[in-house]
């Protein structure tokens, strides 16, 4: 290719120009949901999804996709299919009102519970419960984490389906606050501009 980009100049010839083999409809990796703890003591928050072939790769790929700025103290991922989702409500109705049944009490699996408290915002970690399955976890959450504040949507995730960050791995983010070149605050052109304008005047 005759390009201004030396990298493009070095690209090998592949396939036929302008032709891409059509992909089968589900010909892609699955999605994994990514949750981030920005600082110790702050709740985990849902940040988005990555495409990955498996849970461990999802973790590896999520890190730079979602935590390359400011601060981060921990990160975890799980398969989208392992998130159990309540109905979505609006106005004055809480999603917990639509969770029917009474809790049969604690089970032996642990679950992470996420709440959506405002439409358009992120799901935020509300707490953990013990239950025997996802439905039971919703009911447990209703009994223990439903503090009367409006919740429009609830997610539960069984803990052993999650790839967590281990204690030793927390050092991944040690130098993150120093990577100022990714922040607007590192580009102060004011002094140079002022000097330039004074000279021009």
């Amino acid at each position: 290719m005759n390009s201004l980009d030396p990298r493009v100049e070095r690209l090998p010839k592949v396939g036929e120009e302008g032709k891409i083999n059509p992909k089968a409809p589900l010909d892609q990796f699955g999605t994994y949901e990514v949750f981030v703890e920005p600082k110790p003591g702050k709740p985990f928050q849902h940040e988005g999804a990555v495409h990955a072939p498996n849970l461990e790769m999802a973790y590896v790929l999520a890190k730079e996709t979602f935590t390359r700025r400011f601060t981060c103290s921990s990160l975890y991922v799980c398969d989208t299919r392992d998130v159990f989702v309540s109905p979505m409500t609006e106005g004055e109705q809480s999603a917990y009102d639509l969770i029917d049944g009474t809790s049969i009490g604690e089970g032996k699996s642990e679950f992470e519970i996420y709440h959506l408290v405002k439409r358009g915002k992120q799901h935020i970690h509300a707490g953990s419960v013990n239950a025997s399955d996802a439905k039971g976890a919703m009911l447990q959450a209703k009994a223990t984490l439903n503090n009367g504040k409006l919740v429009y949507n609830i997610w539960t995730i069984q803990k052993d389906k999650i790839r967590f960050t281990s204690e030793e791995e927390k050092e991944y983010w040690i130098t993150l606050p120093e990577k100022k070149f990714r922040d607007a605050s590192d580009y102060k052109g004011g002094d140079k501009l002022k000097k330039f304008l004074e000279q021009k005047a």
């Binding site: 072939p53 790769m57 590896v60 890190k63 040690i174 130098t175």
Partner: protein, 250 residues
């Protein structure tokens, strides 16, 4: 002592700078969006680490990092030849990333105990970055190294091709004994031993075979300024804008 120390700092900095540039070429062209982002971050880390090392060199009386990094010619660079090779396909870029970063992480781990304080401090500081780089490399190699016949064959071919160059990382330097005696760095022989053990342990979890090191002739010379034909064009590219107007600030 300063000469030996500078040699060590230069070769480390040059390695990181050149590989950082090579890896940055993948930005926007990676095999998967998420991997594109991850690989770019690690390239940024490498450039950042080289800057930190050139800054230490500046404190030892060398010129400022921009001058050192962007105005020397190929024969003044001390990087191993492994890092200057063109990217080729992703299999080679990944294998190089694995072989090099394994060595780099171990080197810095050894340097956390260095008697030369600035280096020990830097090593401690960037430990987390390097931990991620090796997690990334090991995970990919383990996955692709035993996935499909195509992926294992590609990785095997790249491994066989890269190995002589990888051994060039540990090219001995004339003043190294001084570093060992003064406790600055344990030396390339010790590093290579640790490296080999680590590389073997990852490769053994895949369908790949490590080439017999006794039958390989290491590609040496990089540490002495002898390079492949690929380095000078890369350096020309890096300095292209600077050269338009050497008096300018960009």
């Amino acid at each position: 002592m300063t000469l030996a120390l500078k040699e060590l700092l230069y070769k480390m900095a040059d390695d990181q700078l050149i590989l950082g540039h090579r890896n940055s070429e993948w930005t926007g062209m990676g095999p998967l969006l998420e991997e594109d982002i991850a690989f770019s971050s690690m390239a940024q880390d490498k450039i950042g680490q080289s800057l930190a090392l050139y800054t230490i060199l500046q404190a030892l009386g060398e010129q400022d990092p921009d001058t050192v990094a962007f105005t020397r010619n190929a024969n003044q660079f001390h990087n191993c030849q492994l890092v200057e090779l063109p990217n080729q396909e992703y299999d080679f870029s990944l294998i190089r990333h694995f072989l090099f970063d394994t060595a780099e992480a171990l080197r810095f781990e050894m340097l956390t105990n260095s008697s030369y304080e600035p280096l020990a401090q830097l090593a401690k500081k960037i430990r987390g970055e390097l931990r991620y780089h090796t997690l990334h490399a090991n995970t990919w190699i383990k996955q692709l190294g035993s996935a499909t016949p195509e992926s294992t064959e590609r990785l095997q071919k790249s491994l066989d091709y890269a190995m002589p160059f990888a051994l060039g990382i540990f090219e001995p330097s004339p003043n190294e004994q001084e570093l060992i005696t003064t406790g600055i760095f344990e030396g390339e022989v010790a590093l290579q031993k640790k490296w080999l053990a680590k590389v073997e342990s990852v490769i053994s979890q895949t369908k790949l075979t490590l080439p017999d090191l006794k039958s390989i002739k290491p590609e040496l010379g990089g540490r002495k300024g002898i390079h492949t034909d690929h380095l000078q064009p890369l350096l020309d590219e890096m300095s292209e804008v600077f050269k338009i107007d050497p008096t300018a600030e960009w």
